[in-house]
Each structure stands twice: as structure tokens, then as C-alpha cells.
Symmetry: C2
Subunit: 272 residues, 2 copies
Amino acid sequence: MSRELLFKSEHLQKTGSFKVRGALNAALQLDGPRGLVTLSSGNHAQGVAFSSRVLGVPCVVVMYEDASETKKAAVRSYGATVVDEGVTRLNGEERVRAIAAERGFHYIHAYDDAQVMAGQGTQALEFTEQTGAPEAVLVAVGGGGMISGIATVIKAVWPGTRVIGVEPAAADDTRRSLLAGRRIRLEAPPRTVADGVQTMMPGALTFPVVQKYVDEVLAVREESILEAQRLMMRHLKQVVEPTAGLTLAPLLEGAELPRRLGLFVCGGNWLP
Amino acid sequence: MSRELLFKSEHLQKTGSFKVRGALNAALQLDGPRGLVTLSSGNHAQGVAFSSRVLGVPCVVVMYEDASETKKAAVRSYGATVVDEGVTRLNGEERVRAIAAERGFHYIHAYDDAQVMAGQGTQALEFTEQTGAPEAVLVAVGGGGMISGIATVIKAVWPGTRVIGVEPAAADDTRRSLLAGRRIRLEAPPRTVADGVQTMMPGALTFPVVQKYVDEVLAVREESILEAQRLMMRHLKQVVEPTAGLTLAPLLEGAELPRRLGLFVCGGNWLP
């Protein structure tokens, strides 16, 4: 079957990913914050750091000690301070809350925040203004901030369009949670090339929205994610990160999908 | 100094490079050719193969035996036949002329052909329609087909704009030829990461045009070419080939250049 693929290109967004939408929306709701703080190893970190520069307030980003130096450098380039000494997946949340309390900074969570979710939805709003309704849209799923925002918009504007989430099979907490009807936590931090979706459990705020508006969540293999990323770079000539490959991967695995599809390309922060 | 850089993005062109412009223009001038044949290891090969499909005629591409399998596969994907057995830089031209004579196919030269040069110039024509005059344009120089077409257009439309060629220092046949006032042949096939400009001597047809319209030719180091390519991928999120890095490389080396620059991005056929 010949298909029509429509790519929403958030790798071309400020900071190289859609994450700045949610971070900036949350930051702009605040009434004179003393500063911003967040916990993120990736694109949300840059989104919050960029937002702090827009607001002209200080920013601290707590990053896991093993996060890449490139990502830490990117965060610093926006003027933010990186705190990473001894930060692990087990104590990161505690560290960020301590900094928020000590310094009186506002903590912008990476996904479990209504303003963040709404901000992520604006990419779908733009998409609906730029094309006619596809039969389905494909969206990478991590903590659920992106897909909850997108699904809310898509179902409001195009009720007939299916919203399909995609997770790595190695990090399928949302797929499992939907099947169980409650939030399931993975037993260990997932290992996947899709480093943008390494969450262990859907968010408390995002999950009900996912349950309400997302039609299904597919799980794909690591090789499919990387092959999808390669195909997008080879044929679209766009630099996209592995996590962006999630949207194309189900087609490579022969998933049953309609003909006209919208693919949300989440980011391009990847170095060849 | 803060600069304004305008990129003409031919990595997004059909076949992934500007080369299809010249090949197709040459092919469309022919009166019912029996077939097309060319000699090329790279983007011109795909341009001619694509053109043969547009015309609906057979195509043979002579490629050096050591050319990458990826490039050979790309040529075959357009329906062309690849001839590579025993083909070297010394006998390639002879082989392509023999095939042209035997089969009655038209040989479209990669650069030394007035229709090819004119076709390459169309990218500059589009560029002049899309923006105001920059103070200078930067163009990669191989055999001279691209820069002769571009320079002809630029000087006609924007006489005050400087046309600056860029070569790898390891393949500076055109820079040397301009200094000598006659075509200089390199002593050996050049080794450079910029595989799109590995010619040994400017063309007989292209060189007089280069002498007439090109203001200067700069030579840059291999590391600058690769660093420029990386910067373009990292910040523009576009997949460009090393040869495209030639346009940005002089800025990394601190070359004296004006503030507003046009950069002709020649192609994006590169696999991370």
C-alpha cells in the first residue's frame, strides 16, 4: 500500500525539540518566579533552560550523573546551572525538590503538569491548521506529556482521527498500564535507544488523559527504531533523534495502519 | 561579528543534490536520445539516472570500482545499469566514450557541458528570487560546473555580489589555475573528505567562465570541512554531505568575509 506521511517537524523547533512548548507555557503562567528548576537528562532540560532565559530568571537543571556531556553543555549554553554530582534515577526527584524548597524556585515537571501538557498540545494545534485530517497520528510515548496534549487537541478538532502512541517494547509502561486499567511501574529503568522515553510509569495527570483520548499504544523493537531514524535521515535529509524514529517504526514492522498518517517528529538533538 | 547566513538547500533537491538540475537540463535538450551514459561516482550519476527515467530511455553509469556500494545502489534504484568492473580514474573516461559509441547513447559530462552548467545555474536563479542580494555567495568548486552556472546568474542579477569559490586545500586545482592564468592539473587524484570535488583540473568550458565571473577561490583544511558539516547538522538539523561543509568552512578558519552571505548547500547524500 502506498501511504501518505505528514511529518510535524519539531526537530526544527527552538532547542531542537517540542519540549520547549510545554516548559515555556508553564513558565509563562508564573507570577514573577524567583527561578526555575527541573529534573531532566534531555530535551526538557533545554526547554526549561531556554524558558528561564526568556523570563530572565536563574535556572537549575538536575541531570543524572551519567547523562551525556553534550546535553549538559547544551543546558549550560542557555545560562542554566547543571547539578549532577551523585544524581541518580533514585534520588533525582528528591534533589530537585530540595533545590526548589531551598531557593524558592518553581519546579517545572517534565510531563506531569497541566500547563506542560497543554503546551505540548500546541504542536497538534498547528498541525491541524496546516493540513487536512489524517486517518491516524503516531506519537512517541514517555511520561505521557506529549501524547496527552496532542490527543486532547486531535480529538477536539478531528474526532475521526485515531491517536496511536508508540513505545519501545523495552519501555512499554503506558501500553501495559492501559491494558491493566491502572498505572503500572516498570521494575527497572528501561534500556532503549529512544532516550527521550525512558520513564518508568505514566504520570498521574497524563494517564487519565491517555486513557480517555488515545486509541492504542504500539510497542516496537529497538532495531526498528534505529532503522526508522536512519530512513528519516536518508530520505528526508533531516537530523532526527532515535526517539523520533518511534513514529515511523510501526510501519517497518508491518503494523496495520491506515493510508494517511500524521507523524509527530519529537526532536533532532542527536550527533552523528 | 554577527553574520547573516542564507542557505540554498539543494540537499532537499530530487536525488539529494543540485546535480540533477544540470543533468536534466542537458537531457531535455536532446532530440529522442537512444539512451544516456555518464561517468560519475556520486551525485551526477544519480542526476543522470533520474533524468533517464524522466525521459524513459535506458541509462548506463560508469562508476569507479572503489565507489561505495551505497552510491551504486542509489543509481540502480533509478533503473540505471552500473558498469564498474575494472573502472579506475585512469580508464573511466575511455570506458564511457566506448559505451556511448557502441550503444549510441548520449554522454552527459558531469561539468564540462554548457547545458549542464546552465542547469546548475538555475539554483542561483531561484536564490535571487527568494531573497535580497547578499554581499557574497560561497560555492564549492570541483570541475567548475556548479560555480560557473551560479556565477553567471549572480553577476547578471546582483553585479555587486562577490562570488567566492571554496576548495579543499588538498584539491585546489581551480585556485592554482586562477593564479597561473591557465588550467593546472593536479599531479595525483586528490584525497579529501569532500568527495564531490575530487576533480584534478577545471573543465575546458567551465574555466573561462570561472576566470570571468568568480572573484576568488579559497582553500580550506579537511578538519574545517568536517567541523562545518557537523555544525550544519547540529544547528540546522539538516543532513548535509561533507562537500556541503565547504561553504561554511572559511568562516571557521576566520576568512575575511562580509556580513551577509549566501551559502549553496550542494547535497545531502551522506549516511551517519
